[in-house]
Subunit: 408 residues, 2 copies
Amino acid sequence: MTPIEEKFHGLGVDNAPGQEIRKDQDSAAALAIGAMVEGPAVDFSHGDVDEDAFAPTPGALDAFIEGYQRGGTQAYTEYRGNAEIRAMVAGRLGTFTGCPVAPENELIITPGTQSALFLAVMSLVTAGDRVAIVQPDYFANRKLVAFAGAEAVPITMDHLTTTEGAGLDLTALEAAFRSGVKTFLFSNPNNPAGVVYAPAEIAAVVRLANTHGVTVIVDQLYSRLLYAGQTYTHLRASGIDPGQVVTIMGPSKTESLSGFRLGVAFGAPHLIARMEKLQAIVSLRAPGYCQAVLRTWFAEGEGWMAHRIAQHQAIRDDLLDVFHAMEGARVRAPQAGSYLFPRLPPLTVPASAFVRLLRAQAGVTVTPGTEFSPCAADSIRLNFSQNQERARLGAARIALLVERYRRA
Amino acid sequence: MTPIEEKFHGLGVDNAPGQEIRKDQDSAAALAIGAMVEGPAVDFSHGDVDEDAFAPTPGALDAFIEGYQRGGTQAYTEYRGNAEIRAMVAGRLGTFTGCPVAPENELIITPGTQSALFLAVMSLVTAGDRVAIVQPDYFANRKLVAFAGAEAVPITMDHLTTTEGAGLDLTALEAAFRSGVKTFLFSNPNNPAGVVYAPAEIAAVVRLANTHGVTVIVDQLYSRLLYAGQTYTHLRASGIDPGQVVTIMGPSKTESLSGFRLGVAFGAPHLIARMEKLQAIVSLRAPGYCQAVLRTWFAEGEGWMAHRIAQHQAIRDDLLDVFHAMEGARVRAPQAGSYLFPRLPPLTVPASAFVRLLRAQAGVTVTPGTEFSPCAADSIRLNFSQNQERARLGAARIALLVERYRRA
C-alpha cells in the first residue's frame, strides 16, 4: 500500500450512521432464521426530524428565509461566521456554560459540529502526536486522530458498573498525560452511552490538564438535553486554563437542525484563529444563509426545551423498560442526550450479522457498538429521538430478534 | 516553533477575499495622499448576489424550502449526497462535459467547491509529495498543498503575452512530471486571469498525465460562464485515463448560489470513495436541505444562462475600457468567468498599501495579486459579478487612485 492508500484504509464509512443504505444484506441472509417481523421501519442510527417525530425548532425555516433575503452580507460572511450572529450566540453560550465567550476571538461558526471537531483536532494535533480518547466514545474521534497521523491512547470509561459519573479511568488518564499526551478529546454527555461526567470527574480532568499542559477538546453536543434531576458540569467554567480548552456544540441534535449543518467551537483564541485559517481552505465558511438560523438557537421560546426534554425522557423510559426486561442485557439510563447503548446477551450470530439481520428481518436500523469501541461488539447504539410509538415498536422487534438468536 | 505552529504559520486568511473587514487601515493612513474619493462602496473581492446585481438562480429558495419540507430523508443523506439528486446532477454534468458520469460511484456532493478541492487534494496528496500548481492560480491551491505537508512545484502561466490559450509552460510541466510530481492541480478558466486553456494545451496535459501517471484535479468552477466566440475544452472528455482525473464544479459563482455552500467533484471512483471517507470526518455531508437546490442547477430555464453571460460580458467590457485606457497597465480580456486580473503601472506605494488605500480612500475592495502568485504583487483581482453601474464607478475610482499614486 502507498502511504495515501494506507491513510484511507482505516477510514471506513459503511457502518457509520446514515450509510446503512450501502450494506450488503445478502451476507446476513444466509444466517437468517424465521420469518420477517412486520412493523414500521425504524432508523435508530440518527434522530428523526420529520413532523411526527422531532421537527426542527419553530422559526428555523423563517430565519433561513430572512437570511436569504438579506442577500450578499449573509451569503459572504467572515470565514469564522457573521459577526452579529457570533455576538448573539457567544452571549447565550456564555450564559449557558457559566463563563463568558468573547465573540471577536473566542468563537467560530462551522458547517456542523463534525466540522468543528475536525478543525479543532487538526489545529492541535500533528503527525506523531499522541491523543487521549475515551472508549467508548463518538466514532469519528479515533478516525480524526488517525487522519492527523497521530496515535490514539484509549482511556476506558466503565459506565455500566459506575453509578456516580461516567466512570472514566482517571488513573489511566493521568498516566497518559504523564507519558506525553498533549491533547484529550471526549464527549460529555458521552456518545454513545448518554452518561454525564460527575463534578469530581470534571475537576480531575481540569487538575490533570492544568498540571500537564494538556489541551482538552470537549464535545458538548447534547448538553442541553439534560434529564430531570441531573447535574451538568461545564469544563470550561471549572478552572481549566482558558488557553487549554475548546468546547464544541451545535443545534443539530436536540434542536433537530441537522439539515442546516451548523456547529460552533468556542475557547482558546489561538486555536479559534487556527481553526479559521483551516476552515478557509476546508469549506470557506458555514453556509451563509444557514448561519441566520442560529438566531433561533437558545431562543426557542418559553417551555420549548422543557417539553422536548420531557418527550425524550418518556421515550427513553419506554426503551429502558424493553432492555431491562431482556435477560442478560445490560444498560445504563442515559442522563442526557438521546442515545441508548445496551449490551446484548450472547447471541448465536456475530454482532455485525445481528445488526444486519435486524435491518433485513425487522426493518430496524441501529449502529454497531464497534463504531464506538473495539471492545463494544456486543453493544448497539440507538438514537431514540424518534416518534414515540415507532420507537416502542422498533425496540420490541429488537427484543424479539434477540430471543430468536439468543445463545442457549 | 512547534510543528503544529509551523503548519499554521503559512496559512493566512487576512488578505483572502471576504476577510477585508479585518484589515488594519491605520497602516495605510500614513501613506495616504489627497482626499477621499466619493462614490458607492464596491466590493470586487467576491460576486454581489444582491437583487440589484446577480441574484441567485430563480427557484433556488423554493427548492430549498421543498427540501426542508421533505424532512429527514433530505436532512440525512448519504455522506456523498442524496442518491436521486446525484443521479440528476450526474446526468447533466455528463452532457455538459461530453463524457458520462456514473452517479453511484463517480460523483460526490460537497459543502461548496472549496470543500471539493480540499477533499480531492487530501485524497491524493500526502506528506513529502510534490504537486504541480499553476502560477498565478486560485489562492487556496498552494495552501492546500502546504497543509498536506507536500511541496508545491509552480508552473508559470504567461497569460499576458500569450494570445492562444492560457500560456502554460508545458516544458516546465513535463519536467515536473518527469521529476516525480504525481498530482497536478489547476483551474480552467484560470482564477484570477479568466483565461481558458486552448485545446492544444489540454491535449498536452492529457498526453503528459497519461505518460507519467499523473492525476489531475481540474477546477472548472467558472466553465459555464463562457463568453461569445470562446471554445472550452473539457479535460475529462479529452482522452485522459478516467482513473487519473477529478473535475470540480459548483453553482456558487455564475449561478450566485454561494450562500447555500454547494459543490461537486466527479471522476475516478477510487478517489471519490476516499473523498467520501474523508467528508465523513470533515463535515459529514453537504447541508441536506441545500442539496435540494442542486435540482435547479443546469435547469435554469430557456435563455437564463445566455442572458447572465451577456450581462457579465457587458461589465467585463466596461472594465476593460478603464484598464486599456490606463497608461502602463496590462490586462488580458477574460474568456470566461467574472475575474479581471490587471497589472498596474509602477506606483509610489507598495502594492499591499495601494490595496488598503483603495479601500480606505475610495471604498473599493480588491484582492491583492500576491494571493495568487508571489510574482503578481503588481496585479489586483476584480470579481466583476457586480451591479454594472457600481462596477463602472468602482473601476473609475481605481483609475483615479492609480493616477494619484503613479510613479513619475
